[in-house]
């Protein structure tokens, strides 16, 4: 088992733990912050996986996940101020 494999399993375990805050967050911004961090961790895991299996498509998927994270946070920010 290589170091990248251990790293991926550790990061995925962290993001699964973080899903508790998504389910049980007291307010909506807590859930948004937790989801944003989950997608950042998932994008890092996809980058490590792309390095591991030597396939370049997963880097593009990681980029798409990071972009969707950014757009989600901006859309929520506009929504909560009543501008959307």
């Amino acid at each position: 088992m290589s170091a990248e494999m251990i790293l991926m399993i550790f990061l995925l375990a962290l993001s699964v733990v973080l899903l508790y805050r998504v389910v049980a967050g007291p307010t909506d911004p807590d859930r948004i912050i937790a989801i944003s961090t989950v997608s950042a961790i998932v994008s890092v895991v996809l980058a490590v996986y792309a390095f591991q299996v030597r396939r370049s498509i997963y880097v593009d998927i990681a980029l798409a996940v990071a972009l969707l994270d950014f757009i989600m946070v901006l859309a929520y920010s506009r929504y909560i101020r009543g501008e959307l």
Partner: protein, 116 residues
């Protein structure tokens, strides 16, 4: 060279762990935003730097590593922007600070804007 790669991996894993603990334990959304920013900038980017160094160490042309650097540059630009916008808008939307918070520099400006 291998030790540099392992050091970057361990730093990334540690900061991801610390950020997740902060998000689980911090009392209000503003503190959670602060820990989440540390999580992405130090955790993710040091892991990607470790992958870049590892690819050079393996003797390959860093085609993946350059894409990882571009991805981390993108994260480095967008993540503080998103955190700042989110913090400001949830402040203006009226989410309260934690009851033990000591400073609130934005309060006077918000009241001045509300008075017109």
């Amino acid at each position: 060279m291998q030790y540099i790669v392992w050091f970057l991996y361990v730093v990334g894993a540690f900061f991801n762990f610390a950020g997740v603990v902060g998000i689980l334990r911090m009392p209000d959304p503003y503190c959670k935003l602060q820990t989440s920013t540390k999580n992405i900038t130090l955790g993710g980017i040091s892991i990607m730097l470790g992958l870049f160094v590892n690819e050079i160490y393996l003797g390959l042309f860093p085609s993946f590593g350059l894409k990882f650097l571009l991805l981390s540059l993108f994260m480095l630009i967008t993540n503080p922007t998103a955190s700042h916008v989110l913090a400001r808008s949830i402040y203006y939307a009226g989410f309260p600070l934690w009851h033990k918070s000591v400073t609130d520099h934005l309060k006077a400006r918000k009241e001045a804007e509300q008075r017109g």
